[in-house]
Structure formats: C-alpha cells, structure tokens
C-alpha cells in the first residue's frame, strides 16, 4: 500500500489513462445502446401497405389475404377497402372537408395493411417482405414509410464496427501505457527488486505487490471513468434533451452488465499491463 502512495505521479497517470479509456469506450457503448433502443422503438410500428388494382372481386381478395397471412414474419393482415380508407382520411382531415365534397369518385384503392412481427435490428426483412408482396399480380404498389430506417440501421451498424475497432485501439493503447508506466516504476525500484532477489525472494513475492497495485489502478480507473460517464450522461440528459418532447427520444444509462464489463475490462487492462512489463523486467 505504501508503494501505491509513494508513486503518486505514476498512480495518477495510470489511473487517468484507464479512466479516460473507460470513459471513451463507455461513451461509445452508451451511444450504441441508446441508438439500438431508439431504433427498436421506431421499428415497433412499421407497417407495410399493399395497394390493390381496382375492381378485384371479394373471392380473390380473400385468397390474397390468405396468401399474405401465410407469409413468414407477418403478425397481422388487415384489409382496408377504398371506402374505409376514404372515411378514415375524412375523419383525419375534418378541417378540409371541402376537398372531399368535390370528389365524384373515390380515388383511394383497396389495400392490405401488413403488421410484421417485431424483431429489432432486422430491417432487411421489411424489404424482402415488400418485394414478395409486389409479385402478387393484383398488387399495384407496395409502400413502407420507414424505408429510411434501414438506412439509419446501416449507418449504426457501420458506426458499431468503428466503435469496436476504436475501443480495441483504446484498450490496446491503455495496456501499452500502463505497461510502460509500471516499467518506469520497476526501473525506479530495480535496486530494491535486485536486493529482494538476492535475499531469496521468489518472483511471485516480488510480483504480487505490483499486481495488486495494477488491479487497484484498473479498478479505480474503471470506477472513475464510469462515474465521469454517468455525470456527463446526466448533464446531457438534463440540459440538451430538456427542450425535446419526452416521447421523441428517451435515453438510458448503460445496463449493469455493460457497466460491469467496462469495470472488469479496466481491471484487466491494469493486470495485462502489469503482466507484460513484469514478464520483460524479470526475464
């Protein structure tokens, strides 16, 4: 413990490095977690609309319904006749009744509203389902307004890959930095270590305090990084998001298992850094 206090500067630098990398990796993961949540909530209400050609008899409509219901990944198929659609439109546009007064023929086609089964992050299937429905001859047009979700999902996917690569880079840099800091401490204590060896101290006896030191560095660094991330998250939540409608975006902090992983990862960074420098030094 005295070693820990004596080497204040080295301790500070090591803990600061681990904290910073924990904070950065944590921030990336926080973004991913929240982006996934937002995407999941947005994709929950995705509907595929299949508009039919005019004048299809009811028997054929039933056949199409059966065909659509048999599709994998479809939870519910609702038939909306042109008349029903017009009534709905009228009720939604009560202030513009004059538009409808001049209508002599209902311009709205019969349609099917398909409710896909909710599978977060699986956006490609909307497109596949839409393409399949398009192949039915009586279907004139297929639409799913959330096409842009797929694009966002792809951007998030790309971002995730970047995040994982950058996290690996940050962790690697931290390990390198910690290992070098410990090496500096070891060099400053090399006479002491040499004397310990000469009086019969085993490598394990010599190594143990350094490992304890490094695990403490990792633990404190991880804890400080997570605490800083939590404070920043709360500040962001209260200041930036306070002006936005509550139901538009809701953010949440890292789930406990990810927070624990970051903490555990920080401890591991300390341990690996120590392992590498001791291995080289005591060789």
């Amino acid at each position: 413990m005295r070693t820990f206090i004596e080497k204040g500067f080295f301790n500070f630098i090591t803990i600061a490095t681990i904290s910073l990398s924990g904070l950065t990796v944590g921030a990336f993961l926080l973004f991913i977690v929240n982006a996934d949540m937002v995407m999941a909530s947005w994709t929950k209400d995705v509907r595929i609309m299949a508009y039919l050609e005019p004048d299809i008899d009811s028997q054929r409509i039933d056949q199409i319904r059966t065909q659509l219901q048999a599709l994998e990944g479809i939870d519910l198929v609702v038939f909306i006749s042109g008349d029903t659609a017009l009534e709905q439109l009228k009720s939604e546009m009560k202030r513009h009744q004059s538009i409808f007064d001049n209508l002599k023929v209902n311009p709205l086609p019969d349609s099917f509203e398909l409710h896909p089964v909710h599978v977060p992050e699986h956006f490609g299937r909307f497109e596949r389902l839409a393409r399949f429905v398009e192949q039915i001859p009586e279907v004139s047009e297929v639409e799913y307004g959330e096409k842009w979700l797929g694009r966002i999902a792809n951007i998030i996917k790309l971002f995730k890959i970047t995040v994982y690569a950058m996290s690996a880079l940050f962790i690697g840099a931290s390990v390198f930095f910690v290992a070098n800091t410990i090496r500096l401490v070891l060099y400053s204590k090399r006479d002491e270590v040499e004397i310990m060896k000469l009086v019969g101290a085993s490598d394990r006896y010599i190594k143990t305090p350094f490992y304890i030191n490094s695990l403490l560095h990792g633990g404190i660094g991880g804890g400080v990084g997570l605490a800083a991330l939590y404070i920043l998250f709360r500040l962001l939540e209260t200041s930036v998001l306070s002006g936005l409608p509550a139901n538009l975006v809701s953010l949440s902090f890292l789930p406990p298992e990810i927070a624990c992983s970051i903490f555990g990862g920080s401890v591991m960074v300390g341990w690996i850094g120590c392992f590498l420098s001791l291995k080289r030094f005591l060789k």
């Binding site: 310990m196 009086v199 019969g200």
Partner: protein, 234 residues
C-alpha cells in the same frame, strides 16, 4: 592442501571452476571443498577473485566452466525457480550492505522472513530479537541513510542471519568499520558458527585473520594459491 579441508561432509564443493569476464579470468580452475560449520576466510589482494567466488555461490554470476555444488544442489543444473530456494540457504552480507534505503531497519530484516512466507506475528518477534542481538534495537524505525556504517553493517548482518541460513557469506564485512565495530561483527559471525552455520568471509585484512584464526583460502589473480589453517593469535 591441508587435511582440514578434506572432510566428507562438504557443504560447498568447487570442481575446476573458472569464471571469465570477457577474455579475462576472474577465477581459474578452482577446486575446493568447504565443510559444514567451517569458519573460512577467503583472502588475497584486491582483484584476486574473492568477491567473484562468493557471487558464484549464490548465482550472482554464472560459472563459465566447472561445477559448484551447494548443499547437494548443482548450480549448473539448477532450475530458474529453484534459485530463491538456493539463496535462502545463504545469509549474505554485502560489501556495500545492499540495504533498501526506502525501508526501515526493521523492514529490511523482515523482508527475508516475509519472502519465506513466515507469519507476521512471528516475524515481529524474530526481527526484534535480531535487532537486540546485534545491538541496534533502538534503531528499528531508522532508515539506512540515517544510520552509521557500523549500524548499517549490523542491520545487514541481522538480515543475513534472519532466515537461519545454513551458510553465511560476508564480503569484506569490516572493510568500512572502526576496530571496535569490526570486532563486534566478528563476534556475531562466530556466534552464528556456534549456532551451526558455515561462515565464509572474504577479506583482505590479514591482521584480522591472524587475530581471529581459522581456515584460510588464499587467492592470487584468480588462482587458488594456498589453503591452510591459521591458529588464533594469543
């Protein structure tokens, strides 16, 4: 060769040992036995190879040629992990003391016992008793830089005997001490021998050898010159 050295219960055996630093021989073709409970002086002028001979024993330096056996352990075939075990057979008093300046006298001594995995409560008792024996029990909390040469030497001696070693190696243990402190250190080393340890002292102080008496290995330019027994001067 003197018969005194040809005993069967040798605790240290040198077989044609040569130590080279580059192309220079620090020790050349040394063959000798040192028996259990011997009190041996390794003497010779500066650069004769006294300190090198001691270093080879605790693997402070590797042997270039030949073999050394210490208490049944062949140093040439020793496993890396067994080196601490070999070193625990020795209590070493270094010429420059080799005390850790950032640790107190107490901590410097307790280090040896901690490294052997002895319980803290026992360490406390043992270190205090050692400090009393070497006459510096009032310096327990002092750090080496604040101690005199004689006091540092006593801490070094206390550390050397802390682990009840089988062999004590002392490299010029009285080199920087006044006559009174030197005599006290020698008395303590003799006491160690009485308690069963084998004591090897590297010194160029022939006056001291004559006063004390004992077995002497005389080295000259790395070669074994004489092995003899000098009687104590009355």
């Amino acid at each position: 060769m003197n018969d005194e050295f040809d005993k069967k219960n040798a605790v240290i055996r040198f077989f044609h040992v040569t130590k080279r630093y580059g192309s220079k021989n620090a020790l050349f073709d040394i063959t000798l036995d040192i028996c259990e409970n011997d009190f041996v002086f390794i003497s010779g002028p500066s650069g004769a190879g006294k300190s090198t001979l001691l270093k080879l024993l605790y693997l402070g330096e590797p042997v270039s040629e030949g073999e050394i056996i210490v208490d049944g352990m062949n140093l040439k075939r020793i496993n890396h992990r067994a080196i601490p075990l070999l070193r625990r057979k020795f209590g070493i008093i270094f010429q420059d003391f080799k005390l850790i300046p950032s640790k107190s006298a107490y901590e410097n001594i307790s280090l040896v016992l901690e490294a052997q995995g002895i319980k803290r409560s026992l360490i406390k008792k043992k270190v205090r008793s050692l400090l009393r024996n070497v006459g510096i029990d009032d310096k327990e909390k002092c750090y080496p830089p604040s101690l005199s040469g004689g006091e540092q030497q006593r801490v070094a001696l206390a550390r050397a005997i802390a682990g009840n070693p089988k062999i004590i190696l002392a490299d010029e243990p009285t080199g920087s001490l006044d006559a009174e402190s030197a005599a006290k250190i020698f008395d303590l080393l003799k006491e160690c021998r009485q308690n069963g340890a084998t004591v090897l002292i590297a010194t160029h102080d022939t006056e001291l050898i004559r006063k004390t008496g004992g077995k002497v290995i005389l080295l000259d330019q790395g070669r074994l010159d004489v092995m003899t027994v000098i009687p104590k001067l009355e």
